[in-house]
Amino acid sequence: MSVSVQEADFDVGAELAALTAGDEAAGAVASFVGLVRGSEVSAMTLEHYPGMTEKALAEIVEQARGRWPLGSVRVVHRIGRLLPGERIVLVAVSSRHRQAAFAACEFIMDYLKTQAPFWKREETAAGSRWVDARESDDEALGRWRATP
């Protein structure tokens, strides 16, 4: 299973090792790990749309496969309450060469940020609030759409 949505933490080393286990064609692995930033935020709770989330992530991975020659792809996204420094998301991609792995990893994160149904609620000293979507995330997506 290349996509997981779970409360539990993940082991980055084990995930990366499993990505290319037994695959001698892979020459590159690129990965991204998103963390809870902790300057003002004391905790963060992630809500999602069960069913649609897994479907949306699988579609994003398929789109990436349509653009680059990829080996294995792994996406893990956590839900529930997370503390500063905790891991939120892992995207890992293997390919024969680094360019495809770097690009696909960034593409999947940019799409995940704007298309996968997750919502963050932050707790701060002033109370808790839903995080607003960022325009810069839409702009990051537009970059890929402009270069099909």
Partner: protein, 86 residues
């Protein structure tokens, strides 16, 4: 297959409405997501303000769609604010 339309609300929208899901009977004048939104907004406050939010997003059967997308009996339609995962 269900003959009603299942409507889901998420995140800040769910919280502000005090409602996570409901079942609506299908009607001839609810042919699109936009028409369904208008029907729900017609209830008045707080539905109207929240459903008419400019940045409202929608999905039909767990795929993100525009408000001109068709809605049929048995569909699952979700309304939610822009996503903020990752």
């Amino acid at each position: 297959m269900s003959t009603s339309i299942r409507v889901l609300y998420f995140a800040s929208l769910r919280e502000a409405l005090g409602c996570g899901s409901e079942e609506l009977p299908p009607a001839a004048d609810i042919a699109t997501v936009g028409a369904l939104r208008a029907r729900i907004a017609a209830r008045g406050a707080p539905w109207q303000q929240l459903l008419e939010a400019k940045n409202l997003r929608a999905a039909v059967n767990q795929t993100m769609v525009g408000f001109d997308a068709p809605v049929r009996a048995g569909d699952e339609v979700a309304f939610f604010p822009p996503v903020t995962g990752g």
